[in-house]
Symmetry: C2
Subunit: 208 residues, 2 copies
């Protein structure tokens, strides 16, 4: 029951239509809480019934009308109440981790290929976040109070992606050399401390 709160946060930042929200959930907020438009429209309808948001219809000429939502006072109260309650610990659910664990019961090479694909996905996402960060927060000393939470969340994204990327690399080192028994020399993995440079594709690794 918390798409509700994600919507309240997004609408508190700026009023929007269901369609606008859908696009926001394709980027930005959506990197930390995904939702499809069907779900957004339905929850929005419920929230309107409950008085958490209010709608105003803007006639569009030619194109369909836009139903623009704003947070009501009741919605603002609910938002404040929600920030005060402790966030329940997130239930981890990683099909990927389960698959790695079960790789010896299937096709190990296919799983390694999967790790490689993931690795590149994380590298791409990391590059995206870092570009975003450099662009929007060039001067870390000048962070306004309003910017700080946004910046903090972005930093979380960066850390998560970097962590996943490094994990994938560690696994590739662990699995790609099945013959030779060189142990992982440094399990703490100090690579990519400066991640800008070496974040290209890793597919043709060690073959060239």
């Amino acid at each position: 029951m918390s798409l509700q709160h994600a919507l309240l946060v997004s609408l508190a930042e700026c009023e929007a239509s269901g369609y606008d929200l859908t696009r926001r959930f394709d980027r930005s907020l959506g990197f930390f809480w995904s939702a499809t438009h069907q779900q957004i429209y339905r929850v929005l309808a419920r929230m309107t019934d409950e008085g958490l948001v209010a709608v105003r219809t803007e006639a569009g000429q030619g194109r369909p009308d836009r139903r623009v939502y704003t947070v009501t006072e009741l919605g603002r109260d609910e938002l404040a109440r929600w920030t005060q309650e402790p966030t329940p610990s997130e239930t981890v659910r990683s099909e990927f981790a389960v698959k790695v664990r079960g790789m010896r019961f299937g096709d190990p090479d296919a799983v390694i290929e999967d790790i490689r694909r993931r690795r590149d996905d994380h590298a791409r996402q990391l590059a995206y976040y870092e570009a975003n960060c450099a662009k929007n927060y060039p001067d870390l000393g000048a962070l306004s109070a309003d910017d700080r939470p946004l910046f903090a969340v972005l930093r979380g994204g960066i850390r998560t992606e970097r962590s996943m990327l490094e994990w994938c690399d560690e696994m590739l080192d662990l699995f790609e050399s099945p013959g030779d028994d060189t142990p992982p020399t440094d399990a703490t993995g100090a690579r990519y401390e400066t991640p800008e440079a070496p974040v290209a594709s890793r597919t043709p690794r060690r073959t060239a």
Copy 2:
């Protein structure tokens, strides 16, 4: 539709009853795929219908009978097939991140308190994983082929927890000093490179 696969992996490792699986999902596998016993029993029933697992009843004297599940050949095929298909990218869904982002619309101090609580949770989980790692894999050079996937997943857990812990610390630095405008001096956060030592509670920080 993938608790199924988690159960197949777990049963491929060792046959078990629903109750056994429930306990496994409270630890070990459960750190990467959580499930309650109700769900496990239901999916197990369906999988039995579909012929992916087979049941054998062991009469318990006094206590209830144990229904012990094993993976069938069909189940093993399904497991192999599953490892071959690319894992869909995980939909991130972090209520915590959303709350941090929306903190300025609520009670910032309460959210900071929440971050502190999380930080300690991650420190605890990290310590648990690292003890587990040190105990089960004391000699990284002697990792058997069967151990490697298990080890890899555990390493993922360690990396994730450490990453979250460091992120929380970064946020506390960012938010705990609202008056003074000292910027986060090193946003890359090189602390806790050797995480054994400084992973105590952080609650009384800067007050003593």
